[in-house]
Every structure is written in structure tokens, then in C-alpha cells.
């Protein structure tokens, strides 16, 4: 389990250009990997075009109380990048005026941004249909000042989406750190206690599963069944949906793949599982990702690789929905992760 971010460790892979170099040139012993561009061109799906904007995903900072092995953000307690209230104000203006119906707050642990609560309160007034906070669960138990988060989420009718690597302690702790499983279970019970995740409840609680190693996620429906049964039998926990997400070969997961000599096989697995039907609905087609310093990206992964949107409107201060619609999505080899099998997005499968 990692204890520091790649950035803090001075690891080469903390630099986005190094990651792109590896992804683009490959380090393959056998054969060549087709480029994602060539692959989608086979079915005339290049370039991928942005459709109407539906989801604004705002990354309010890379600071996190955890240092998970697979983190594509390279987040951790040592990361200082954090969104200011001024940038949040600019985001609020955009939320008010854009056609997006979903707001998706992510990080790091978004709750660690000092203006997180202020932002949630202000954003909740704007009348968005679905207001998601991606919570890592343990933050709710990290220290006293976060204990009331379940109540706070409830008050503002926040849709909580939480990562839960596995229903067993061993697998969860291996990926996310010792003690994470027990804290996550406690946090889920507390969310249940205020009404989150209960059958028929409007207080939405969804879980995100992503594999603990160099393999793809299994069938989302089957995984959801297994998670529901295990969490109910063992801990009496309820939740609504499970989203199965593929790990993209970026940042710490890329570092892990290379260090464990799984990179080549993993990339092949992604290419072998390539599903042209998933290209149609990759999340960048209806989502915009906004970085802590206000820049616009096609998705959180492109944000981490510092691949900005292909548009004149590049910053939240010069946001222009018309200019952004129909833009060509910026792609690279990591995009295979979104199109493998049933596809993968922040909302789980897409095909």
C-alpha cells in the first residue's frame, strides 16, 4: 500500500508527459498495440464528438486522507492543489447558466476542501437535478469534524457515490490501506442510519467497485448482487446501485502495472475487450471535467494527463457551452479503459 503520492516521491510517473510517452510508445515485448485512434476509425467513430453537456464534474482538489494503490489522481494527504472559493464562484455561475442537469464533485476527498460545505450549500440552491458527491467513506470517520457529514449530505439532498473495493476486509485493505474496510463499513452504517441507501429512499447511496489488481471488472449486475448479499448478511448494510469501473492506466495504477510487470498484459486485455458499442457513450461525450484551478477537460483522466479540451473555451472564466458542444474529444491509449467490455464511466457500464 502506498503512503505517499508519486509527486511527493519524485517519481517520474508524476509527470503527465512521461505517462503519455509510455502509453503512446508502449513497452511491449511482443507485437504492437493498435492505437485507440486507429481502432475507433475502423468503425468510423473517429473523432469522438462532444454532445450536449449534461454533467459537470468538478475536481475540488487532490488532497485525500487515503493513498490508494490504484488512484488515477495520485491523490494523498501530501497533495496541496485545492480549489479556491473564487473558482467555486465561477463554477456556480456556469452551473446556473449551463444546460447541465448533474453536478459531480470529486477529488481527492472533496470533503477536505475547506470551502466544500459552502460550495455544497450554494450549489444546492441552484436547482440541479442530481447532485453527486464522490465520498471515499473513510473521511466520514477520519476525524470529529467530519462525523456529521451524513446529516449534512441529507440536509442538502446530496447523492452519495462511494468507492468500495470489495465486500471482504482483506481485498479492501490491500488496495486502500489497513483499517479502511472497517471504517468504510461504519460510514455506510451511519449513512443507512440517516436514511441513505434504503429501499425506496430518495437519499441515494451508490457504490463504486473497481478491481484491486491488474484485471478488468466483472459483470456489473452479478457484482451488485454479490455486494448486496455480502454487505447485508455480514453488516446489515443497504445501498442502491453498484457501478463497476475499469481502472485506467494512469498515475499510481500505471506505476503499479509497470512495477508488477502487468502493463503489457493489461493493455492487451483492454484491447481484446474493446467494444465499439461502448464508444458511442463514453462519458466525455456529455461530461466536462473542471480542475481545481478552473481548467476544462474532457474527463478526469484527461485532467490528470494534462490534456486540455480542444476548444477556445478552456477555462471556467471563459466558459462557452456553444463553443464546447461538438468539440473533438482528446484521446490517447488510456481511452481503451472506457471502451473495454461493457464500457466504463463514472456511472458504471455504458453499453
Amino acid at each position: 500500500m502506498a503512503t505517499k503520492s508519486l509527486k511527493k516521491l519524485g517519481n517520474d510517473l508524476a509527470q503527465s508527459n512521461k505517462q503519455i510517452e509510455i502509453l503512446s510508445n508502449g513497452i511491449f515485448k511482443s507485437g504492437e498495440l493498435p492505437t485507440f485512434k486507429d481502432k475507433i476509425s475502423e468503425t468510423s467513430q473517429f473523432p469522438i464528438k462532444a454532445k450536449k453537456l449534461e454533467i459537470l464534474q468538478i475536481n475540488v482538489g487532490y488532497m485525500c486522507n487515503q493513498v490508494c494503490d490504484h488512484c488515477h489522481v495520485d491523490a494523498g494527504p501530501d497533495r496541496k492543489e485545492i480549489m479556491t472559493r473564487d473558482t467555486m464562484r465561477q463554477c456556480l455561475e456556469v452551473i446556473k447558466n449551463s444546460g447541465a442537469h448533474t453536478l459531480d464533485l470529486t477529488g481527492g476527498a472533496p470533503e477536505m476542501n475547506p470551502d466544500f460545505r459552502w460550495f455544497v450549500e450554494e450549489a444546492a440552491k441552484v436547482g440541479i437535478k442530481d447532485f453527486i458527491v464522490r465520498s471515499n467513506l473513510t473521511i466520514i470517520r477520519a476525524n470529529k469534524k467530519y462525523y456529521d457529514l451524513p446529516e449534512f449530505f441529507k440536509k442538502h439532498n446530496v447523492h452519495v457515490v462511494s468507492s468500495m473495493p470489495h465486500w471482504t476486509r482483506g481485498k479492501t485493505d490491500k488496495q486502500r490501506g489497513d483499517g479502511v474496510f472497517d471504517k468504510s463499513i461504519k460510514a455506510l452504517q451511519e449513512l443507512n442510519a440517516v436514511g441513505y441507501g434504503m429501499p425506496g429512499s430518495d437519499l441515494k447511496l451508490d457504490l463504486v467497485y473497481n478491481p484491486s489488481g491488474a484485471f478488468l471488472p466483472g459483470d456489473q449486475v452479478a457484482m451488485e448482487k454479490d455486494f448486496k448479499k455480502a454487505l447485508m448478511d455480514d453488516f446489515g448494510i443497504e445501498f442502491h446501485n453498484l457501478f463497476a469501473i475499469t481502472n485506467l492506466p494512469i498515475a499510481r495504477f500505471l506505476d503499479y502495472l509497470i512495477a508488477s510487470e502487468n502493463y503489457e498484459d493489461y493493455m492487451y486485455s483492454l484491447v481484446e475487450a474493446y467494444n465499439p458499442a461502448a464508444v458511442e457513450n463514453v462519458m466525455c461525450t456529455n461530461t466536462l471535467s473542471i480542475s481545481w484551478d478552473g481548467y476544462l477537460f474532457d474527463c478526469d483522466f484527461n485532467q490528470m494527463l494534462e490534456l486540455p479540451v480542444n476548444s477556445k473555451s478552456r477555462h471556467i472564466s471563459e466558459f462557452n457551452e456553444e463553443l464546447l458542444e461538438g468539440r473533438n474529444i482528446v484521446i490517447s491509449q488510456h481511452c481503451y479503459g472506457c471502451t473495454a467490455g461493457a464500457g466504463s464511466s463514472c456511472q458504471g457500464v455504458v453499453a
Binding site: 515485448k29 478491481p211 489488481g213 478488468l216 466483472g218 452479478a222 492487451y268 486485455s269
Partner: protein, 111 residues
């Protein structure tokens, strides 16, 4: 040193067997895919059976493939190891049960 007989990368070329006999190869892969579909047994149960059989057959390609497949299905390492023990128990039982034949023969010849 000469190359080993088994090369993990060869598993990726498995599909190529159709190139030298398209009809039979295709029939095999169609059958294979059908066998592993969800049926009276779940795909998960089938994956565990395959993992156990991969071991009794001692096929390194199948072991790699079904280790990955079971992991993808969220199956834990304890469950995987138990499945292998089932295979091992049947395999050793199958060896030992032939001991009865040996005993019968001894009794007949040397009773």
C-alpha cells in the same frame, strides 16, 4: 538456454487456431462460448469449475486465464483455493479408488 515449451503470450494467439481449420475452430469457439454462458449454473460457478479443471489438467494457459476470470468475478482467493482442493481431491480419489482394482487383482492372483 532453449526456449520453454509454454509461452504466456501464446494464450493471446489461441484464436488463431481457426486459421488452419476454420470450420472446426469456429465450431469449437462457438461451443466454448455457449458452455460458459449463464445457464442452470451461474457463469461464476462455471468459472470456478474451469479453474479447478485447469489445475487437474495442469494447463498453464487455462490456469492463467481462469485465475484472471475468477478474480474479475470478485471471487476471493480462499474460494479459488478451495475449488482447486476439490479438483485435487477428485484426482487423488480417482487414483486411490483404482487401488480397489489392484486389491481385487491381488486377491485373485495371490488370495
Amino acid at each position: 538456454m532453449s526456449k520453454p515449451y509454454y509461452d504466456a503470450a501464446d494464450l493471446r494467439k489461441f484464436g488463431k487456431i481457426t486459421e488452419w481449420s476454420e470450420e472446426l475452430g469456429t465450431k469449437f469457439f462457438d461451443y466454448y462460448a455457449k458452455v460458459f454462458e449463464e445457464g442452470a449454473l451461474t457463469a461464476r460457478e462455471k468459472s470456478l469449475i474451469a479453474l479447478a479443471v485447469a489445475h487437474t489438467e495442469q494447463c498453464p494457459y487455462c490456469i492463467d486465464a481462469y485465475t484472471k476470470d475468477t478474480l474479475q468475478r470478485g471471487i476471493t482467493k480462499e474460494q479459488m483455493m478451495e475449488a482447486i482442493h476439490v479438483g485435487a481431491a477428485i484426482k487423488s480419489g480417482a487414483t486411490l479408488v483404482h487401488g480397489v482394482q489392484m486389491m481385487n487383482k491381488v486377491n485373485k492372483l495371490d488370495g
